[in-house]
Subunit: 323 residues, 2 copies
DNA sequence: TTGTACGCGTTATCAT
DNA sequence: ATGATAACGCGTACAA
């Protein structure tokens, strides 16, 4: 089924069929109906390859995705879901690219004209893909803020403000020293961003901050170690479930024996007997805004390169004693 | 950068470039080097649209995916990861289609020649997409077994055997009545499959089976209700984390005060203080085998329509008292 | 072993 | 308002 067939059935020229579909030319009501009827009768659908070749537009967004993220599987799925939804709303599809393909993956999808734009997740502080992205023929959106953002479009959750809020909350509760159960890596872009802001806030508020790089399999031991020092102000930024487990194991009840705040999705923070005061990374907001921006770029609304942050907000629950 | 440019630089014809890349024609060592050097020099990459148009092959697999699955986010990610990896190994890419698009999504990607094949997840017992898939121009693989499989290619985990193993394990442990904390819906294809097998096994072993359709937010209450009946043999097929929590809350220790078996990924089953005897759905095995099959179909190895099952296996851990 | 020429199904520029 | 017609970039039958 090609547009030629439609043209034959409708008794018009092939180009008329094309113009009826694109609406880029005034068409008389009569021939419009003729063509539309033929399209319906033949259940015609334009060939994506031919359209891409002729129009230089694939209607495809490539998404470079990590498979094990500090966000967790649920966070990743939320990202993908929002991105796909937004794409479809703009008549685009989503092509999945694994982070494992690295720099080559970027080159492949952009260079081969497989896509009209790229969304890059789980950006590293010093990310080799940044270099490539700068002179790609397609607009590229970074979810995350690498060290050198010159010429880039970056958007991310405002980890800095989030860190300030969490440390501030414990400082407000009267703590003079707090432990931050932090990420074990420093490569992910937001880790140093979060950490620096947390430490600056601590310094400004006159509290001593101890950064504990959490290892997935040693959470219990590490929490026990922190508790042993008599510390009663804790910020958990990852592995919240295991941390809560470990605290309970140590006989310490959040909101009673100690104060716990977390960086975690609302679903996670409310999933425990004691709901946890937390800042959410709002993965859905981030991806929604990212896609909105991306389509503005595709529509030629040329905002220059820029770094955008999605506002942080803290929700108070019962894991911190009122004061 | 087109193959024409490469041809000019290499001093050969455009078709020679094409044949060098496809290997579908003997090429002299000399011209091969000429062409390959030119390709490298220009960092040439063939245009995907043009290639698809000429070859009638897009090198793209469409994956129709649910965003909230009974599998959980981690299970879904495992599927996507394996599918994407397998696709890349066969020089294909993955296009994401949301289950929300339903029947139209299928028609869109297949009819528009956007993809060479379709993988369909989270199939329902009575799935409207089955009808469409039968006369699609591209091979379609169902992950899951709908009621009417005539003319379809279906593959799934062997839920039937899994059910037998789990109920059998509790029967072996001497239980004369067991509660199955099951899925709350009956629409998903594997729910009735699992349930029927579980009930058949129970009947054959002379045990009374109580099927409890679990509701995400009422797990605690439902577990309490089951415990109140004095039941000490439990099969959890979903929401394992919440179930374990609820049991602990009720003061019942798996492997001590009662016997618990589960249908759950190994990672989940071992994530608790008491590791749980479980049958894993092996999402990675399922998707790997699915993709292998799919590419056999694409390569023209025409196995007829068929239903395949990925073997179940039970791993004994300490949530069941030895006997 | 290599080159020529056509077709794939659109979009878009000329004409009319 | 509509119809020819020329790209778009690649694959491949046909020639040489």
């Amino acid at each position: 089924m090609t547009s030629k067939d439609v043209a034959r059935v409708a008794g018009v020229s092939q180009s008329t069929v094309s113009y009826v579909m694109s609406g880029k030319r005034p068409i008389s009501e009569k021939t419009r109906r003729l063509v539309e009827d033929a399209i319906a009768e033949l259940t015609y659908q334009p060939n994506a390859g031919a359209r891409a070749l002729a129009s230089q537009r694939t209607q495809i967004i490539a998404v470079v995705m990590p498979f094990d993220s500090a966000l967790g599987a649920a966070g990743l799925m939320a990202f993908i879901e929002e991105i796909t939804l937004a794409a479809r709303q703009h008549d685009h599809d989503v092509l999945l690219v694994t982070a494992e393909e690295g720099v080559d993956g970027l080159r492949r999808v952009a260079g081969g004209a497989l896509c009209d734009a790229v969304v890059l997740m789980e950006v590293r502080t010093d990310d080799p893909r940044v270099q490539i992205a700068r002179d790609l023929r397609v607009p590229t959106l970074f979810i995350g803020v690498p060290a050198d953002t010159a010429g880039l479009h970056c958007i991310d959750f405002d980890f800095e403000t989030g860190a300030r809020m969490l440390v501030g909350e414990l400082a407000d509760a009267g703590h003079r020293q707090v432990a931050v159960l932090g990420w074990g890596t420093a490569e992910l872009n937001y880790v140093p961003r979060f950490r620096a802001a947390a430490e600056a806030t601590a310094a400004a508020r006159g509290v001593v901050l101890q950064w504990v790089p959490v290892e997935r399999e040693r959470v219990e031991a590490q929490v026990a170690q922190v508790l042993a020092t008599g510390m009663t102000g804790i910020v958990a930024v990852t592995q919240l479930a295991r941390v809560v487990h470990a605290l309970q194991g140590g006989g310490m009840r959040p909101g009673v024996d100690l104060d716990l705040v977390a960086l975690a999705p609302d679903a996670d923070a409310t999933g425990f007997p004691v709901p946890v005061t937390a800042v959410s990374q709002h993965p859905r907001d981030v991806s929604r805004q990212a896609m909105q921006w991306l389509f503005e770029l595709l529509d030629g609304n040329h905002h220059g390169p820029e770094v955008r942050r999605v506002p942080a907000s803290l929700v108070r629950r019962s894991s911190v004693r009122s004061h």
